[in-house]
């Protein structure tokens, strides 16, 4: 038995890096400290895809890595409009190789942000983002707002490590010295802890941000008595808390990014942060989901100039979510092949998009079988990043953290290598055709 300390969790955007676990016979046997219940379940491991597979006459048949990679390359090389989607539960090195492949084959490359915090990324382009690190929040924040997010259940370590419950240099009293505001459409486990809970009518967050902005800018006279079901008195109460805070932070989740005005909600949330800045120090941060969804956006921006939903079909980057985003492409039946890596659209995409995905050739790269496997035509199992191989990832506050390797594998191949080998096969096909 070996005890390993400072293990980095490759589950959610919190990327907790203080986990202590025990390994025996190349198996994680016990999580001693640090991980939340969801992280624990990932670190302890579960059923894997056992072998690469190719679908023949409707059935997935086991094959070698070489055969599956060759088949994948043939599909992508032939495609007039391939979609390369996923990239959030793998490391930056694999993302980088994937974007290079997309550029070479004239594909559209997109990550899970497209159905998650893509609207946040769009908003940041429109109005910028005044943000900070989670460490600053831990050490300084005295007013915390969770808007359309429920960390008590979705990011179980978030409040404890970084926000309301954590104790830092200037926040030594922990939650005693802090205030918590929760904005949501319904009561949640997080809202039960809040000093003030604002219940907004479904899809109407936009109006509440505008009203708060007008109040913070000294125009409470124009705000009506009720905004989106919220009494003006409550908005004034929160505005006063904002004015009195020394360091405030708004964390927002998919309750705002995927409801009502969507990305314009976030534009308005950032503008609210700007208005709050007239009174004190204020920051804003998205509650990113997958452990490296942020990292893909970083890498994609280095390599193409844009963070996600990048169409490289014409030899330059065209970025237009709504047109080049995966769900829209599939819903419109625009794509004729897809490579799905480190994600599960089978479980998360809308039905109309999935219907088309089930019709076209699909290559799946993933350590685990999931609903996407049910219609994939080529399945390539990968080593688990953060457990069987290392690599760089970005935490939700854009802090790079290196995932560690804690177990050995002599069979499974890392995502980066799979993507590079597919790319090499594509080049070989092109050379062959050129002859």
């Amino acid at each position: 038995m070996v005890e390993i300390t400072d293990v980095v969790c490759s589950l959610c955007g919190c990327v907790c890096d203080d986990i202590v676990l025990e390994v025996e016979n190349n198996q994680v046997t016990k999580i001693k400290r640090g991980a939340c219940s969801v992280g624990k379940s990932k670190l302890l491991g579960h059923e894997r895809i056992k072998s690469p597979m190719i679908r023949e006459n409707g059935e997935l048949k086991e094959c070698s890595y070489d055969e599956a990679i060759k088949k994948a390359a043939e599909i992508l090389y032939k495609s007039r409009r391939p979609l390369l989607y996923g990239w959030s539960s793998t490391v930056c090195e694999a993302d980088s190789a994937g974007i290079e492949l997309a550029e070479d084959i004239g594909g559209v490359v997109d990550n899970t942000a497209t159905v998650c915090h893509g609207p946040s990324v769009l908003a940041i382009q429109d109005v910028g983002i005044p943000s900070c690190t989670l460490g600053e929040i831990k050490n300084r924040a005295d007013l915390i707002i969770y808007w359309g997010a429920n960390p008590a259940q979705a990011h179980a370590n978030h409040m404890k490590r970084y926000s309301y419950v954590s104790k830092g240099y200037w926040t030594a009293e922990g939650k005693k010295g802090k205030k918590l505001v929760v904005v949501d459409v319904r009561k949640t486990m997080t809202s039960k802890m809040a000093d003030v809970f604002i219940q907004v009518e479904q899809g109407k967050d936009y109006q509440v941000f505008s009203a708060l902005r007008a109040i913070l800018r000294g125009h409470e006279d124009v705000v009506p008595d009720k905004v989106a079901g919220v009494p003006k008195a409550q908005l004034l109460e929160v505005a006063n808390m904002v004015k009195e805070a020394k360091f405030g932070i708004t964390f927002f989740g998919m309750g705002v990014t995927q409801a009502g005005a969507r990305h314009n909600n976030i534009v308005n949330a950032i503008q609210f942060t700007r208005a709050a800045h007239l009174h004190g120090k204020w920051s804003i941060m998205p509650m990113r989901g997958h452990y490296n969804v942020t990292g893909f956006n970083q890498v994609c921006t280095w390599q193409t100039g844009f963070p996600f939903s990048v169409d490289l079909s014409r030899g330059y980057a065209w970025y237009n979510p709504g047109e080049t985003s995966s769900t829209d492409l599939l819903y419109r039946e625009d794509c004729d092949a897809a490579l799905i890596i480190a994600s599960d659209p089978g479980a998360h995409f809308p039905g109309a998009a999935l219907r088309h995905l089930a019709k076209i050739p699909v290559i799946q790269i993933d350590p685990y079988a999931n609903p996407t496997t049910e219609f994939a035509d080529v399945v390539i199992p990968a080593a688990i990043s953060g457990i069987e191989c290392e690599g760089g990832v970005y935490r939700m506050d854009n802090i790079p953290i290196r995932l560690r390797k804690i177990l050995d594998t002599d069979y499974y191949v890392p995502d980066e290598e799979i993507v590079e080998r597919i790319h090499a096969e594509v080049r070989a096909l092109r050379e062959k055709e050129g002859e």
Partner: protein, 261 residues
């Protein structure tokens, strides 16, 4: 007068996927003076490959033109996956007989486009001049901008016979637009100039407006909570409530005007 008829071949739409064709190379100013053979050789994008126009469209030419102004392009067939029709056009006329895909009339500088059907999203994007007539409905982001651009429509005239989607005329800085049907939320978002007239119903129009005007003749489903009522005003004998905003932008920038019937 010269009429160039381009009919999309059925084969383009017959695959497992309907990969869009992008045709910003097919405008009257670019096709003027070309023989039929030259026309057929003009490149258009179909997915990640460039193809000859003649391979994707049946091409026919009638009459002669002395300038691009005298060239009329008639587009036929199923155009629902034909993008960028008339994008960047400077002169002449395009008539699209049916529903068209995204970016129709984007970056248009002159001439006239008539869509005899519905237009998908981003029609008239960053339009600078000319006239765009959409007889049916128009999608989201009509006359708005490419992601990240800080200016949408700056000139020209647009008429939509039916309803429009969300965020129309975002960052509009000039020009005029008339919507005969209803408008979905956030019409005129970030608008700084120009004029929008909505005959039908609308909600949450004019957020973060810093200039320009929106005239609402239909029913207001929901007002933004950050506009100030100023006075009653009369335009062409019709009485309107006049509002100023958006005060969420602060007093100095709140220079947009709403006229609500």
């Amino acid at each position: 007068m010269q009429t160039i008829t381009l009919k999309l071949k059925d084969a383009v739409r017959s695959g497992i996927a309907t990969v869009p064709v992008e045709v910003e190379s097919l405008t009257p100013d670019q096709l003027f003076g070309k023989s039929e053979a030259e026309l057929k050789a003009v490149k258009v994008w179909w997915g990640n490959r460039e193809e000859n126009t003649g391979d994707l469209f049946d091409v026919s030419v009638e009459g002669d033109a002395a300038s691009a102004d005298e060239v009329k392009i008639v587009m036929e067939g199923d155009l629902t996956r034909v993008k960028r029709i008339g994008s960047g056009m400077k002169a002449g006329e395009i008539e699209a007989r049916g529903d068209v895909d995204m970016h129709c009339g984007a970056l248009m500088e002159g001439g006239r486009i008539v869509v005899k059907g519905n237009a998908n999203c981003w029609a008239g994007r960053e339009m600078r001049g000319g006239e765009l007539i959409i007889e049916g409905d128009a999608g989201d982001n009509l006359c708005a901008m490419y992601r990240g651009e800080m200016k949408g429509m700056t000139g020209g005239k647009v008429t939509v016979g039916g309803d429009v989607g969300e965020c129309i005329c975002q960052y509009m800085a000039g020009g005029e637009i008339l919507i005969k049907g209803n408008a979905n939320r956030l019409a005129g978002l970030n608008m700084s100039g120009g004029k929008i007239t909505i005959e039908g119903d609308a909600e949450l129009f004019g957020p973060d407006m810093t200039g320009g005007e929106i005239v609402m003749n239909g029913k207001v489903l929901e007002m933004m909570p950050s506009f100030k009522f100023l006075e009653t005003a009369t335009i062409d004998g019709v009485e309107y409530k006049k509002y100023l905003g958006d005060f969420a932008m602060g007093e100095k920038k709140a220079k947009g005007t709403l006229y609500v019937k």
